[in-house]
């Protein structure tokens, strides 16, 4: 029944689809390959292990990890409310939450500046308390969270919708309260979606550039993440820039690979229900 999709079908894809698909694949892979050809291999290790490089990489990984946690804390409830709740303005909220996906990151940076900046909506009150977010690592995390949150919400909301409410209803009639249902049924069921959402959010945070540059600034060890370091190194030291770009690509490949493996295996597992 549900397993039908797993076998090889006899329906063939038109040839021209293959041609365009190949073109599409090349379009993505060729620039990456071109970049690899420009890597200064003998110097690769020293270049990527220089202090500024490692500092930027470390900062990127740390901030992206924190952003991912923040995305989970804020995004899981948001996705739950969007997928399960019923309230006026729900559609509008969904569209607005997804806005950072389509906004140029620099616009996000400007928006964050007007919110958390010294003269911003919240920032002006914060600066009275002696807190300035701009130019701090917190600003990096906020910028990353801002752009990454929709990825998590979108991924999780989709999983929640496709999981449906039947298992939750069954759990409720077995005496499980809403909290137990969430913890023991809903979240485990959407775990593949949650994991891929979190990984996507992490990847997006790792690649965040525009909003960070606009909102957080660029200072080694504080706000200069790997993409900013690459951008800066490009000015004087293209070799380092290319080497670091490759590092970023490799991290992205690993992340995307992990997500893909997880989600597909998750699907296969859930696809194997009943059918005696």
């Amino acid at each position: 029944m549900r397993g039908a999709g797993r076998g090889h079908g006899t329906i063939t894809i038109p040839l021209w689809i293959w041609v365009f698909a190949a073109a599409g694949g090349f379009f993505i892979l060729l620039p990456l390959a071109a970049m690899v050809t420009r890597v200064n291999w003998p110097q690769f290790v020293p270049l990527v292990t220089s202090v500024p490089s490692l500092t930027a990489l470390g900062l990127s990984l740390r901030t992206s990890a924190v952003s991912t946690v923040l995305c989970l804390v804020l995004g899981v409830p948001l996705a739950m409310v969007l997928a399960r709740g019923q309230f006026p303005g729900q559609r509008l909220l969904r569209s607005l939450v997804l806005l950072p996906l389509v906004l140029p990151p620099v616009v996000g940076g400007i928006a964050l500046l007007y919110t958390f900046g010294r003269r911003g909506l919240l920032g002006s009150s914060l600066s009275v308390l002696g807190i300035q977010i701009t130019f701090s690592t917190t600003a990096v995390v906020l910028a990353q969270t801002f752009v990454a949150l929709p990825f998590l919400v979108l991924s999780l909301e989709g999983s929640l919708r496709s999981a449906g409410t039947r298992y939750e209803a069954a759990a409720a009639t077995l005496g499980a309260g809403p909290g137990t249902v969430l913890r023991r049924v809903t979240l485990p069921l959407v775990l593949p979606g949650l994991a891929s959402g979190a990984v996507l959010a992490f990847a997006r945070s790792l690649g965040e550039f525009g909003a960070t540059l606009t909102f957080a600034g660029s200072l080694e060890g504080v706000t200069r993440t790997l993409p900013l370091e690459i951008y800066l190194q490009r000015e004087t030291d293209p070799d380092t820039a290319v080497a670091l770009s490759l590092v970023l690509v490799l991290i992205a490949v690993v992340i995307v690979g992990l997500t893909f493996r997880r989600t597909t295996s998750g699907l296969l597992k859930s696809g194997r229900t009943r059918d005696a």
Partner: protein
Amino acid sequence: MTTGPAVFSIDAAVADRGISVSLELADAETVAVLGPNGAGKSTLLGVIAGLLRPSSGHAELDGRVLFDAGTRWVPPHQRKIALLAQEPLLFPHLTVLDNVAFGPRSAGASRADARRAARHWLGEVEALEFAQRRPGQLSGGQAQRIAIARALAAEPDLLLLDEPMAALDVTVAPMLRKLLKRVLAGRRALIVTHDVVDALVLADRLVVLDAGRIVEEGPTRLVLERPQSAFAAGLAGLNQITGTVTEQGLVSADGMSISGVLDDAAVPGEPGVAVFRPAAVSVFPEPVHGSPRNVFAATITDLEPHGDQLRIRAGALAADVTLSAAADLDPAHGAVVYFVIKAAAVVVYPAKTGEAL
């Protein structure tokens, strides 16, 4: 009509689905709810379980108010009402044992106690060997057995079953029915089914729901022997004619007379129902005359195999004939034949009015 004082009662309406139902359940009683598709059976269970909000009404279980239109609403997890659905809906990420232990765990039992209870109930459904499996490794029948154990392990005050065998292979259903008969004995349960066998085997009482209203209810055997509604007659596999009781039998609203045996309660002049089995009908190509017999000219509307016989339908009436008899008859759609029924094979009994229900 309950077999004892009601421990569960519901009187509720779901306006947007056109459902209005009043139902009671005695202790240790299993009631089967039957009815055509879209009659509102699953909606009724949803309302009782707390998964759907009725537009008005009231329900109580063991003196606890479940809902009272607009004022009180107990959420599903506090009702102690378990719902076993058509699909087992075992949590795919938990082992069979932890699925069954889910109810006790939710009720606050320790992990060890919950698992102990789960083992007990797995034993009850003879599925202990599957304890460590994942739901994905079970067949449909096995999964439904586990689902039963899981529902029972929650120790519900009322068990709802929504066509628990509908999604199963016909070869698996009888085994599961036997299991249900055993575990439902002495339990309060409401089982929605479209299969009269379920009602016969599992239920003490039968409720027929049609278009959101209860059209008939009573002890299972009585309803099946003396069906009031056309649906119940269909379930029981009986031909049914409604009309007015006469000395000889019954006269239908359109003037058709049928001779039959009057039930003790049947009073001539009162509304009545006449039933006879399709197998009691003989079919002839020509009118036949003889001692007390009913003869109806009938235009064949449908022919279908029925066991080792052929069922000949003529409008609302049906006749079962042997295949050899059918070969002689050579029936065809639209052909006019004669249905002949001995008066002794027709039972006439009073029709119940709405108030009697």
